[in-house]
Symmetry: D2
Subunit: 510 residues, 4 copies
């Protein structure tokens, strides 16, 4: 009976009861174009892979060592040299960062504990391409604990924490990544993960789609043995849907970007905190009494507005969608057109997913000292290109902070050159990354263990039940106690006692 039913909990892996029951349900997984499907993207190297990215930053990394890691001969303490990192000697510092991260990633640690007996990823050969940070290190080492062999590259040329990469290399993970790779380095690292004598990946974990793209281009035959792709980013998911639409997707893919739990955290909860953090770290400004306009009242905008209102800012909102607009009204924000307030506001924040929301004309009308930043997506929301004109002077006053100076002396404070403030100027809390990482791990387990035929050559959303499982794994952190339905109540509601509680069509919506 297990043949057809999709189950992340095969007999090989001791999942909790309700995940096992889950195997008995005939689920129709959702297939849908994501909202990103609206945008047209075309790139050779992904845009996200070259976005500047500053997180907790490199702590010990003031070295003036200019030698390319590719030219260095390094061995870890066990004698292996199957890796390429900046400096293997930084491993100890990186290990400490990993240990700190482990404390805030309870769900992955719970999966490790559960896997002490059985190994749901035994035999899995995972090639991964993600940011290399303490949190992804916890994920990678968890995959290892679950039985997988992993090889890893970075999905962004700036975002690698060299110490963490060193710690991974020291512990035996073949990792190829350092901060400040060239584009050539970038593809070289990916290739070193994939193109290995006597080792072929059977699952892919990608963030942005560059790894998938590379295999498609260079080693298409490799897909014959690949059970599936787990993709985390908006961009990568978009590429997968394009492949699928074009009939070129030759393995199942799991879109974990649109899982409910991840979305809620990435947008509302995370941005609620990171807007404050990003503004403080760059400008040391006081929020109380400041006038702010937030463009867009989706989840990100809602988070930004709530946080700034709570800190005593006066917040205006712009929206195009009447339903979101009415929500802004009911939540106590004046709904305006940008032009109505642009002369008076102290801060402009974009959260629209749209382009050219803040134009040169708006920038010309802002008052002296106005801060402009982007919490939305990519770097299109503020028309930064329009500021690259001869009459304006740019002055870099701090890292990620530019003063753009008008001929009359007016200064606009532009943060992160219009790129994402939360990625560039604040850190993402480990707890949020824990949710993403747990979702990725469960998706890998599911794809790797799924009986043949459960998944076709298409893009799937994570089953609601697993989404709920990710959420439930994070409740103990808050000492939170879930109520269980009685049999009578479950019958009354027409629900299984163990979920899923959300209908399949449920999305995390705004």
């Amino acid at each position: 009976m297990e043949e057809t039913g999709p189950s992340p909990g095969t007999s090989a892996f001791n999942m909790p009861d309700w995940l096992i029951q889950f195997a008995d349900q005939k689920q129709e997984f959702n297939k849908r174009p994501t909202k990103i499907g609206r945008r047209s993207l075309s790139r050779s190297i992904s845009q996200s892979s070259t976005d500047s990215y500053s997180s907790a930053a490199s702590y010990t990394d003031s070295s003036d060592d200019e030698t390319s890691p590719r030219d260095k001969q390094q061995k870890n303490s066990k004698g292996s040299s199957d890796f390429c990192v900046k400096n293997i000697k930084q491993a100890e510092f990186g290990r400490r960062e990993i240990e700190i991260a482990e404390q805030e990633m309870p769900a992955l640690m719970a999966l490790r504990k559960r896997a002490q007996g059985e190994k749901p990823l035994a035999g899995a050969k995972i090639v991964g391409c993600t940011h290399i940070t303490a949190q992804t290190a916890v994920l990678i080492e968890t995959l290892g604990a679950l039985g997988a062999q992993c090889r890893w590259a970075a999905c962004n040329i700036y975002s690698t924490l060299n110490e963490v990469a060193a710690a991974l290399a020291e512990s035996g993970v073949p990792v190829f990544s350092w901060k400040g790779e060239s584009e050539d380095d970038f593809w070289w690292c990916i290739d070193r993960c994939v193109n290995v004598e006597g080792w072929q990946p059977n699952t892919i974990l990608d963030d942005g789609g560059d790894l998938t793209h590379w295999i498609y281009k260079k080693y298409p035959n490799m897909f014959k043995k690949i059970k599936g792709i787990v993709e985390e980013s908006v961009t990568g998911v978009h590429r997968l849907y394009q492949l699928s639409k074009a009939g070129k997707l030759c393995v199942p893919a799991m879109n974990v970007n649109d899982s409910v739990t991840k979305q809620k955290f990435d947008n509302l909860y995370c941005c609620r905190e990171s807007i404050l953090d990003g503004l403080k770290r760059t400008t040391d400004m006081m929020f109380g009494g400041k006038q702010v306009v937030v463009c867009g009242y989706g989840e990100v905008g809602k988070g930004c507005c709530a946080a700034l209102k709570a800190m005593g800012s006066i917040v205006y909102v712009t929206e195009i969608d009447p339903i979101c607009a009415l929500q802004a009204c009911m939540d106590g924000f004046r709904l305006v057109k940008l032009n109505e307030v642009i002369r008076q506001v102290d801060i402009v924040i974009t959260c629209t997913g749209n382009k050219n929301v803040v134009t040169r004309e708006h920038l010309d009308r802002m008052k002296n000292g106005c801060i402009v930043c982007n919490m939305g997506h990519s770097n299109t929301e503020i028309d930064v290109a329009s500021l690259r004109t001869p009459e304006l002077t740019w002055e870099r006053v701090r890292s990620q902070v530019d003063h753009v100076i008008w001929p009359d002396g007016k200064r606009i404070v532009l943060l992160a050159e219009g790129r994402l403030l939360n990625l560039s100027c604040s850190t993402v809390p480990t707890f949020v990354l824990s949710i993403t990482a747990t979702t990725q791990a469960l998706a890998l387990i599911e794809l790797y263990n799924a009986p043949e035929g459960r998944y076709k050559q298409d893009v799937y959303l994570l089953p609601k039940k697993m989404d709920e499982y990710v959420a439930s794994l994070h409740l103990p952190t808050f000492d939170a106690h879930l109520t269980e339905l009685s049999d009578e109540q479950a019958k009354y509601l027409g629900l299984n006692k163990n979920g899923p509680f959300k209908p399949n069509y449920y999305r995390c919506q705004i």
Copy 2:
């Protein structure tokens, strides 16, 4: 038959541009079972029709006139006696209430203005069965202004405002309704609306499904001329889906209960205010410092929690769904099982849609003076029946407030006998009813004007575009200014400049 496209704005009615463009889109209307589909309801007379209901109440109604309206001979000032109300002489007071309501129902007034030239409901013969209040009077008179002939009965035996019914009768609407009908009166009134010499309805506006039920039972042939049913209530929608499932639905029906705008207001925004109002009016309690447990963290629970937190209460939450549970945690509420806090809380509020959430065992453990009320649905959430035992004394201390007294003297304060607090003990703001009424009016226009074949014998959700139109009609109340997409931006997002902005699968979700 789909060629011309679905359009609420036929050429006969001058709708705004974007509603006209809307006609050009091929829409697939959503068909879905609502969550209420989980519950099994079976009734002869609908439960909702006998729920006690106290709103702004009858102001002038201290009459000791015991004569049944059915036995009275009354005429309005134009000489018509085609109505049956408590006392036609109360019309003037009711008119004033209607005028007050008009001020807070800007969207209907806008529709009336728009209809001065053309009449989109010309020829429509609408039979309606709803609560008879000042707000529904504004709806009924708007339908009249749009060209319709209406006949109306009450959907609840207690909820009629006699003065408003009198004002409608005085202005020429055949209305059959008074406060305190018997069950026999109830059906008699409905019958008087339907069973008329020389007049046959071609559209139905129902709230609870009793009118629909009556026509099915008594005058099934009438459906041949009926273009559609608009149903507003959870219960009525459930009945329609049951009919549909059983293949017995013989006309199209529009489920306006699940329209996004209505849901958001009925649940989150309305409950945020009515929980405070309902508790104050019944108990005059102070919220600051009180310990409260809210069972269920859906939209209703979220509204209750936010309001009480803002007033200085300490709020605990119970949940069965891990995703909602995690949201409660992130919003700053301790997630507990009811048993953990039942001894210490001052107030227990149910918002689950479930049954027996508060059991006799819980009630036995509550502390003296604990207030218990229900904001969820129907009257099932608190096991009130379990309190009807000999050792407990019930004492009615105020309208809608009972003290249930334990042998040791402990008193529990039970509000509205476990029925909905917000219906029984607070008033629903006119603005919220305006959204519902506008949605109903647009749905009627749509069904009445839809070309043959657009709608089958099925239950439909309001098209997103009309949902957004309802929202946009309410923005001017807040002096709110919507931003319009530029052509370039619309293209970038892959959207029509005029919406819809939400995908079809969009629901108002929690």
Copy 3:
């Protein structure tokens, strides 16, 4: 004479330890003119005594009994006729209201329990003049339990709850009061309390100063035996300071109006809730999205602003004081002049303590439907008199709600005719009244037991330690646990372990 020190806890009364230690401190009680001292008040009958006042209202009181209570012959069940109330038969209903109030007045109940052994008010003959409500009944009966004999009249001709007065009379308290007294009745009732054969008061509890005024005028010799006056109202305190200034105050008086705990509750905490309650009960309006201007950002204004902001209103503030103005800015409110926003707001609320804050000119410019109300003091803040002109039509639409209609049809919704909204249109939570009543009881104990010479013929503030004691008596309601200083910490801070923790100059300030 100061040797033995001031102590509310004489040996006769078992007060908690720290109150006893309090006796050992040489305190200089504060003497100060209150801010009300700025206003000039002169009246024969106090203004407050004729203010319309609507609280929980009379529940059973639909009687058409027109006979004046003064003309009735009534006896309670014990045969006494030393009282004058509307209808002694309503006693049972009133008793239930008193019992309900007892549940929310934990501090008085704690004092009763403490007094089971000793009676700190044994021998006290208290004449009182306050509102006659369930809560004052709990106070009066507590004073009785502490050993006092009481006689009582109402301080307001409208505010008496007849059922409660009946219950007091039934239980043996000589109470002279009913709802709807004439001015002549008013003074007659007071006189019946004071002018008694064989009974002379030795302490006075007054609210508004009318009782004190009457004794001064009619029975000045009575003051020879009076140990002191406890006065609760702004107006009464003002009169006492005037007497003191004029050298005419012939007994000590305790100003309990300015006690810290009472002030904080009466203003910030109580208004935070009553602004919402008052607006809802009168207008059933929705707060979300409404634009509101609050005039004055003292404690009352802060409470109103916080509540409305939390409910989703957009709030503007006007202020004259730069320090309060800066606080409004930092709390996230736009600081404006009234003229700047008067055309756009939906609600105008005055909280200034000033006069003519809202002028006819402002009223002329308000938009149709604008709601105007006063939370500040008296009825001076809105220039209501300016609306009594021939071209404006007044229409009473509900109790406490007038529509004032301009020639062009514009309607302004005026609440409570400009009198205090919170007194007229909402109820004061019992818990707040509990704080006031406890403060009054402790002040009476203090004055009655103070050794001669501790208090001169002057107006005193409640000692901080007793203020803190009132607060501490209310903490158990919230299951709140106070931390105690260690000896080492107390020494470090230079404080007594048992308080007072506030310096003497501490006021509850804004």
Copy 4:
């Protein structure tokens, strides 16, 4: 005629009207012991002068230049060498920081503009000892613009921003200060400011009292020509009150620490933001759902609690004072003893002003990963000394972040070694410093221009009117518009139209 009237605005300085009128009022300035008076402090070098202090930090300062500035020969571009800083070449970078700060210090810039004609500090010779930051540089240069000659040293051996010191030196201010002074350097720098051939100070601006202490000790005769001391810190003010009490204060001193505006900002508004900032920068933690206990519910505690509640934390409060405790309850916080929650909380924050609030016993019982920090005062609140025992391991994981590790592996995350989190781990917004600096400047003007006899050898609070003036100077930043009293209203309130609006006894209280 100016002889007797107190006026900060002599005829030589064009102050606004109401400041001039202020001269006509006979004011009794408040003399009071501050609450710090409760503590006994005795030091040779002030504790605050050696507190580690990390603000925006040194940006360009990665130099390995080990030469002591005292041994360097440096000249500014005008050839002067009357200064001692780390590196005069860093001046340009420092100047940019100063310019940025100027944008957020509108009140000082307004004073500069006002002083273009007249110089209220002409002839003033000010010696100053404060933190050397961009904001104090704006103050120093403002004093210069007002006519004063200044010499400056640092009040803390760590807090100097070398680039700013360089910029001041370059612009001609004799500044003696660098980051990382030894104690000997510290006093040497102060001495270089004071002990100058042919220049003697006539006013003192001190922060911590070390400069005042030095002059008392070394150059007591200098006080003959000194018109007064302006002192900003709690510690320095305490020392002044001690001197005054001992009869040793030989010049007037102005306590600007207790000015209302400054207090409100330093405590409530600033801490509301800096608690979040300090925690984020050190730990990157997520606030949502975290359990936090805040010890102390004064202004600082209120700010911390409000901010964390708004971010979704669950906050518990401990208090010793019943009045503050009741406020915590009414604001929605569970009032507990620390022991009740110590095992379950994720964060412990002290805001008491007390000592040993968090003891080793508490620390022993905290859960793994618990974060402990101090927002109160000094470094006494957490018993950090008790953690310096052999069985515990300390691990410095980041700047200002230590893991203290128990034998069983439990880690406590201690921030800033128990010193003030807001000083050590977050930046103080320029706007807050602007308020302090403006207060200092006005106090200097007042003392310098006061006619002889207005101030005795005592410690004074800033007159309320000047306090209000500081507030009003900051309102334009928020585009805030103050309402003015009409003559009639002012008369009604018994106030001067131009203030002061607060009574003299007004304090910023909690």
